[in-house]
């Protein structure tokens, strides 16, 4: 059976910065209810070098993070190894972690990044109303993908490339 990791990161004490972490938490509860054994879940404040080891043990990894990009609610993108030098020391981008994984272990999983639009990042523990809505949409999308397929790589790839427009599950 293919092994899948959902990895949300961000600081839950900073409003919508919690979106990635909450997405992973929601998916973990859903997987428990459905008794899905092939999925693991992890969360942290940010990604770092040890995550290269973590992801090396999976066939598919879906990172989830808050985003301030110009997107409506959420989007999914494919992640490919990228050696672009990081300028922060204790936080790494998914593509950098993937590149490190490839360099250290000569392999890397099929990897995606779920960008969830956030709007406020102050020192509060609750999401904004917009953040809540966007989290619900992203969760529904991912849950539906794994309801339809136990290993929805083709479906996710199509969503990333926009070949099918809106995915209908």
């Amino acid at each position: 059976m293919k092994k899948i990791l959902i990895f949300g990161y961000g600081n839950p004490g900073r409003q919508d910065d919690a979106l990635g972490v909450l997405l992973a938490d929601h998916m973990e509860k859903w997987a428990e209810e459905k008794d899905i054994k092939s999925m693991d879940f992890d969360t942290n404040y940010q990604l770092n070098i040890e995550d290269a080891l973590t992801i090396s043990e999976y066939d598919m990894v879906i990172f989830a993070d808050a985003s301030i990009e110009q997107i409506a609610d959420f989007k999914l993108s494919q992640v490919k190894p990228n050696q672009k030098t990081e300028f922060t020391m204790h936080a790494m981008s998914p593509d950098f972690v993937l590149h490190l994984c490839q360099s250290l272990y000569n392999k890397y999983p099929a990897t995606y990044l779920l960008h969830i639009k956030g709007v406020e990042f102050e020192m509060k523990e609750s999401l904004t109303a917009i953040g809540k809505d966007n989290l619900a949409l992203a969760y529904e999308f991912l849950m539906n993908a794994f309801t339809k397929f136990s290993y929805p790589k083709d479906l996710l790839d199509r969503h990333c490339t926009g070949q099918t427009g809106e995915i209908i599950f």
């Binding site: 839950p12 004490g13 404040y45 020391m89």
Partner: protein
């Protein structure tokens, strides 16, 4: 035409930072400044919250060193609940120590393998695309794997002691909320190779030898790069031993003479002031007895090995003796020796973790101490980058009415500015062009202090790397964005 060269933010330093180097018409450096966008809102944010929430709330402050803030806040609240600073149960104190030494171990390891090793292995003049951990992974794979595993080991120690990786709850006012099960202990002591404490000690020694080999081959660079005399400040144990978790405050001058004689940190405000400068958001701490001009000091690994009398673990003590002999027992003022000191501390942290893991007190059930409640408390510890102060007052209805923090990077504000000036004078003044290697040299000097400039949020799309060049009239000459 005079120029102002801006490096923004500093690469491979946590969070935001910006360096401006002002050149005159002949390309001589006339002024350097390290600008740090420090987040200062927390002290006001926490006012009005119940005091017992502080150890968890402070983790909002920084997603990079949350464990240090978690423990410093808990130490301050130990005093408020009447349990501290010396009254924790053996299990409570040792669990906290294990958490803290795990944090120190993983953070020091990350700094060395991810940040420093590219400079040592490829040279500070190497092109930027070469000086990163990916290239280390390609050419020195075993070394890079060691870095990853050491970081993971420390992270697992934190998870086991703090309860979870995000917003840990392990430390509470007066103690700890869990002990270490025998299964958790065995994972670290008898874990499948290489994830066990003996391997961590072995690899810590290897990393230290790597640095010492580089030092032997590059003695002039390592000994002179950004070197300047300074005062040094840290906690030391009451008997003078190196101690990351608890002790008294000691400060020495550049010759080793004591300025602060092992004072109780509950009274830190009697000895330490904070100066505000118009051009920086970050304050400049100083020793009141020496004033703002001469009272600045270094904190961190170098300062700790300059203030302590000995290291209470055998392998690190042996390395400490070699380190001290290099400067004939006097304080070491060489910025690049910060890496040497950091790796000795890494080895010490591993040795302490082994001792703690084999201590049956960690399986004890007496987790929390209580006493007569007070209204004010100070918690101080030595975190990766240096001395960290948390100070709280809670007078009515158990709500926090005052909070003051002095974080390690703030303590090192003036030394980092000194280091930038040293390097700029040596490598940039008089040059007609600015090579990337020169800019990296400035960054190397800053990185030696391992500054944490984080604002904790990191949402996708933020924080581009930008380099701007201005003339003396603030006209933008050139700009590059990463």
């Amino acid at each position: 035409m005079g120029q102002k060269l801006t490096i923004e933010p500093v690469t491979r330093v946590e969070g935001h930072g910006k360096v401006t180097i002002h050149l005159d018409d002949d390309n001589n450096v006339v002024q350097t400044r390290l600008h740090i966008v420090e987040f200062r809102g927390f002290e006001r944010f926490i006012q009005g919250r119940p005091y017992w929430e502080a150890p968890v709330l402070v983790q909002r402050l920084c997603g990079i060193c949350p464990v240090s803030h978690h423990l410093a806040a808990a130490k301050a609240l130990d005093v408020i609940v009447g349990a501290g600073p010396d009254g924790l149960t053996p299990t409570g104190e040792k669990m906290r120590r294990l958490m803290h030494y795990g944090q120190m171990f993983q953070s020091h390891a990350l700094h060395f393998f991810h940040l420093v090793s590219p400079d040592l292995l490829f040279g500070i003049d190497a092109r930027p695309e070469k000086r990163n951990v990916i290239e280390v992974a390609k050419e020195f794979t075993e070394l890079a794997v060691q870095g990853v595993m050491m970081r993971k080991f420390g992270q697992e120690i934190i998870r086991a002691t703090a309860g979870k990786k995000i917003h840990g709850t392990g430390a509470i006012p007066g103690g700890i909320n869990k002990n270490l099960s025998s299964e958790e202990r065995d994972f670290f002591v008898k874990g499948k190779d290489p994830l066990n404490i003996d391997k961590m000690i072995e690899w810590s020694k290897d990393a230290l030898n790597l640095f010492k080999g580089y030092h032997n081959e590059n003695r002039e660079l390592v000994d002179t790069f950004a070197a300047f005399p300074s005062n040094h400040l840290s906690l030391v144990r009451k008997d003078g031993a190196l101690d990351f978790y608890h002790g008294v405050i000691r400060a020495v001058d550049e010759k080793g003479d004591k300025i602060l004689h092992d004072i109780d940190y509950q009274h830190y405000l009697d000895y330490i002031g904070e100066e505000v400068k118009s051009w920086s958001y970050m304050k400049f701490p100083f020793l009141k007895s020496l004033g703002t001009k001469d009272g600045w000091y270094r904190v961190g690994p170098l300062a700790r090995l300059n203030t302590c009398d000995f290291i209470p673990s055998p392998l690190a003590q042996k390395e400490f003796e070699e380190f001290k002999a290099y400067t004939n027992g006097k304080p070491n003022n060489m910025s690049m020796h910060m890496h040497w000191a950091r790796l000795i501390e890494t080895l010490h942290a591993a040795e302490v973790m082994k001792d703690l893991l084999n201590d049956a007190d960690l399986q004890g059930r007496d987790l929390v101490a209580k006493g007569k409640k007070g209204s004010e408390g100070v918690g101080v510890l030595e975190e990766t980058r240096g001395t960290l102060f948390h100070h709280y007052r809670s007078e009515k209805n158990d709500l926090i009415s005052m909070c003051n923090l002095i974080v390690s990077t703030t303590n090192n504000n003036e030394p980092m500015n000194k280091a930038v000036r040293q390097v700029a004078d040596a490598m940039i003044s008089g040059q007609k062009s600015i090579r990337e290697g020169m800019l990296n040299a400035v960054e190397v000097a800053i990185r030696a202090y391992d500054p944490c400039l984080s604002c904790a949020t990191h949402a996708l799309g933020k924080m581009p790397l930008e380099i701007s060049l201005f003339d003396k009239n603030e006209n933008l000459l050139d700009q590059k964005t990463n």
